[in-house]
């Protein structure tokens, strides 16, 4: 029985793939003796189709996917930057709601401005650091800590 079944399905495959020779075809006909003509059952199944719109199913699945993994764009951004894709919730924690580029530009302007601003006058400092006795009485607007000794 098993041997016959093996041969039956072997020949069936050849019929389907249209590679059966005339001798095998006769054998196939013998094995199918009394069965339905022209493989009607199998052909009905092969040609059977169910036409129905299932867009709503896909929409629900899309929503479920987004709920779990986040939007498609988030994945794309992470993937294109060669960053290991974290679960969406964790990624959201690491994504602060600021534009880092804008913030960096503003910071750069401040740094440049700070570096280029006029420094303290060297001359003014010398007044404070030098022997104040040389200037005694000449400039009353400058504080001279040792002037109280005179």
């Amino acid at each position: 029985m098993d041997k016959n079944l093996d041969r039956y399905f072997e020949l069936e495959e050849k019929v389907i793939s249209n590679t059966i020779n005339s001798i095998e075809l006769e054998e196939w006909k013998t094995l199918n003796k009394g069965m339905m003509s022209n493989s009607r059952i199998e052909d009905t199944l092969r040609n059977d189709d169910v036409n129905a719109s299932r867009l709503h199913v896909k929409m629900k699945l899309d929503a479920a996917f987004e709920e779990k993994f986040g939007s498609d764009n988030q994945y794309k951004d992470v993937h294109q930057n060669n960053v290991i894709p974290f679960p969406n919730k964790i990624r959201q924690l690491w994504a602060p709601p600021v534009n880092w580029a804008a913030l960096a530009s503003v910071a750069a302007v401040f740094v440049v401005f700070f570096m280029l601003r006029p420094g303290p006058s060297f001359e003014g400092n010398t007044v404070l650091l030098a022997d104040s006795s040389l200037h005694y009485g000449t400039d009353t607007t400058i504080f001279k800590p040792d002037s109280i000794l005179y």
Binding site: L61, A64, G70, Y75, P85
Partner: protein, 195 residues
């Protein structure tokens, strides 16, 4: 441009690679896998669940939801297709158990359902009647046998793949297919001009 390239790359991936991408949250991989299997899995559920379109859609949704919720349940070192069918087959088996418990399964009601949704009784042809009877009878035979029959003759799966799906030996698949065919031939004998 990058997006188009990525889409092309994804569409050429095999099912197992797509599952790996889905695990990492790649939506396009999911879309490609859905497009590959949506029609055939709907057909499977539709025919296995007494041609009930609404139920088949619910099952289709639940099947793909399993992939979204727990993609790691699939072992990517194995073939996706037999695994996917085995999940679907288990869903159908569970549904049949539930229906038996609830005593909802009513052959007459289901037969009426087929007639109402598929064929206009006033314009029925011999071909349509044959088809209707075929699926009625297919629904009555053993679960594994009808699954094997649909997988073999509608989807064109090999005996080996069916055996993997149903977790049975190849010889057993052949026996089940042959048994199913014999039963169907007997039940549909009236359509055989030789008889």
């Amino acid at each position: 441009m990058i997006t188009t390239k990525n889409t092309l790359e994804v569409s050429t991936q095999n099912d197992e690679q797509l599952m790996l991408s889905i695990t990492n949250g790649n939506k396009r991989a999911f879309d490609v896998l859905y497009a590959r299997y949506e029609k055939r899995m709907f057909y499977f559920f539709f025919r296995k669940l007494n041609n009930n379109q609404e139920k088949a859609e619910d099952f289709l949704h639940d099947l793909f939801l399993k992939i979204i919720e727990k993609p790691e349940a699939f072992d990517t070192s194995k073939s996706f297709s037999p695994w996917f069918y085995s999940v679907a087959q288990n869903m159908v088996k569970n549904e049949y158990k539930k229906m038996e418990v609830r005593k909802i399964m009513d052959t007459e009601t289901d037969t009426a359902h087929v007639v109402n949704h598929e064929i206009d009784p006033l314009h029925i042809t011999e071909e349509q009647l044959f088809k209707q009877r075929l699926f009625e009878e297919l629904g009555k035979i053993n679960q594994d046998s009808s699954t094997a029959f649909i997988m073999k003759y509608h989807e064109g799966y090999s005996i080996e793949e069916i055996a993997e799906t149903l977790n049975i030996k190849e010889g057993t698949v052949k026996s089940k297919l042959f048994y199913a065919k014999q039963v169907l031939l007997e039940k549909l004998g009236m359509f055989n001009p030789k008889n």
